[in-house]
Amino acid sequence: MSRLLRPTLSVAATGAALLLLSGCVANNPTADAEHTAITVDSSSDACAIDTETAPSGNVRFTVKNSGDQVTEFYLLAGDGLRIVGEVENIGPGISRDLVVQARPGDYYTVCKPGMIGAGIGKAAFTVTDSGHDFEADADLTAQVATANTNYAAYVKDQIAQLVAGTDAFAAAYVAGDDEEARALYAPTRVHWERVETVAESFGDLDPMLDLREADLEEGQEWTGWHAIEKDLWPADAEPGFAAYTPEQRQALAAKLVADTATLNEKVQVLEFTLDMQTNGAIGLMDEVASGKVTGEEEFWSHTDLWDFQANVDGATVLYGGVRDILLAKDADLAATLDTEFAALQTLLDAQRDGDGFRLYTELSPAEIRAFSDQVNALGEPLNQLTATLVLN
């Protein structure tokens, strides 16, 4: 897929992730009509807010930067230190929204044009008790921390299995044991696909490991899984396609092994936030929708359903990690997601063949359409996950 850099953006966009703990998210205008709208004018020398008080519940600050520097806006707790909510990177002339779930108490508002120093216009802000019902969140912090830790461990485990599988696959390929290499291809790639949004977030490694032929630039060297895939399944190759020489095989296999080892080193230090997880699940289902349902990912081997199942596995793990948190916040959404994940798995199970799956080319148009419809049915509620977990 033209997967270039989406993960980079997603990760870069997670500045607000930590804010979950204080129950807010930046720049997310809520569809909920029941919020208090407040405007803030952040100029070069003032932080003008149009009210000093609001009832408890969802509060939306629309922060307009009327100065000439990049600015930030903070809602601080009564100690004047702890950040309850923030919106950053507001360019001159731009407006951004900060929506917070504000509990009764004393707060401070402050702007920070230029993004340095203590900020200007720090002012007291009071949230009165409106009787708004807040869910208990005593265990939330611990749950989130556990989910983050567990997911990091899952990623490391999958990549470790990828390393072992890749070594065996490369050995068979170099030895000319094509039958064994073909047998190992899809089951090994499963470990990549389960954590694909993480694995491909390393912009230099991803093209070396997982680039498809159509994604090449003219003159660019083709390496990685799909270059080897074409050599192992040359039936659909263009006329005149020549099998790789033993030297080419050796070089491709050595690079695959080396790049996978590098990937393994890189994932050891990764840490995750909650919305990296929720957005990761969304990203995996997007991979399914754009590459696997269409049969474009495994163009030569047609083992797309292995990847499909692996992406779903990864999304299921991510969802499972936050499901307890979701149950407390929106049990209906959890029930919907449970149902849709199960329905998708039922469709996949129907295509199982031995230890694996039928080839993409063996599916009927109706079967492919059913997959596509179910991916959409799951995708829409799944994409409410981030906003639900951080706001509701």
């Binding site: 897929m1 033209s2 997967r3 270039l4 850099l5 989406r6 980079t8 953006l9 997603s10 870069a12 966009a13 500045g15 720049n27 997310n28 205008p29 930067n65 990049v70 930030e72 950053e88 990177n89 360019g91 001159p92 002339g93 731009i94 993004m115 159509a214 994604d215 090449l216 630039e217 003219e218 660019q220 957005n279 969304i282 997007d286 929708a289 754009s290 349902v293 269409t294 474009e296 148009p365 492919i368 359409r369 596509s372 419809d373 959409n376 995708g379 829409e380 799944l382 994409n383 981030t386 906003a387």
Partner: protein, 453 residues
Amino acid sequence: MNTSDGRSPGDSAEGAADRPAGAEQATDDAAAAPRGLSRRGLLGLAGATVAGIGLGIGADRAVLAASGAGAGAPNAANYPFYGSHQAGIVTPAQDRLHFAAFDMAGDAGRAELIELLQDWTVAAAAMTAGRDIGDFGAVSGNYDAPPEDTGEAQGLPESGLTITFGFGPALFRDAQGADRFGIAGRQPALLSRLPHFPGDMLDPASSDGELCIQACADDPQVAVHAIRNLTRIAFGRATLRWSQLGFGRTSSTSTAQATPRNLFGFKDGTANVKAEETATVNEQVWVQGGDGPAWLAGGSYLVARRIRMTIETWDRTILREQEAVFGRTKGEGAPLSGGTEFTEPDFEITGRGEKPLIADTAHVRLSHPSHNGGAALLRRGYNFVDGNDELGRLNAGLFFLSYQRSPEQFVTVQSQLAKNDALNEYIRHVGSALFAVPAGVRQGGYVGEALFA
């Protein structure tokens, strides 16, 4: 703009003053009346026993339509067909498009090609002036013959119709290198198939072509009428290879136009080359005298790319990422570096963590002239939705059209985008074509005449 006088397009300079911005084709006062359709062209239309071929006198739709309608009536804009540049390039982008690519028939030679271009010229001049084609139009003529004009544009005003012609690389040399029309020696060095870009998934069924016609109008029926009749005229000499409808413009080519939105919901073409920027237009759009073959001076190169959007995936993407992908706000269209829509983006300004407010992979950054050696494109694309695919997804996207002085301008920009653009996650290029668009037509001449001189 007064259309009620049913002015024919060659009616000279006095009309120039009230033409809309961008319709600045110099009036060519060649006295010769336009030739009528060739005998073959007429036979192709009607199979009628028309003896004399003269100035077309088909029904004047503009007169019909304008009766009772004052100046400023909807879709009353008209643009002269004749001029130093072809219309439909710097002309303010109309709302609708019908684009078609053709291949010459296997047995057609140079004479047939020239004759076809002459017939197309006559018909295009008539239709852009709001007239039916042929001597008798849609509902006159021999009762026992099919009408010359297909008739679905009767009663409709000109609707700003422009018809723009171009020549593909294969017209000069076919796939086997054969010079079927005696013009191989005049092929511009820059006119060859565009290179493969990363991510290209091109369908031959919506790519390339030996000839192209871009019909733009503010009424879709008028644009379709133009392509339909020009296709019919070509039967036996050229056949339709592929065609594309566009239902909404995605670019402004005049400062007088508001910026429209693409199907991602973002304003598109804010920083486009605009007709009023005459120095930029000359530098970036028109082929200049010393650039290449003399016959193409005053023309341009047209790139057509059919870009499929996976809008279902896009619609599930959080707003933060949508804006980061484009580098602009979705509402106002302001660059994320600040300001309003037309504020120049500041690619240096950084936010938290010293990261640029406009990401390194943002579309607005990678496509900006400052990141492409100054190369700019005059974009003239259209939104399309062609039903749905077999997976129940809207077959939707952007039919990208751009005019530039050299194809290298597009190659430079697209090489950047194909490699690094964050938008690649949500789009794929499925069709591609390149055409040389000759200069405008003088009265009595035909489009591309200099190529055969």
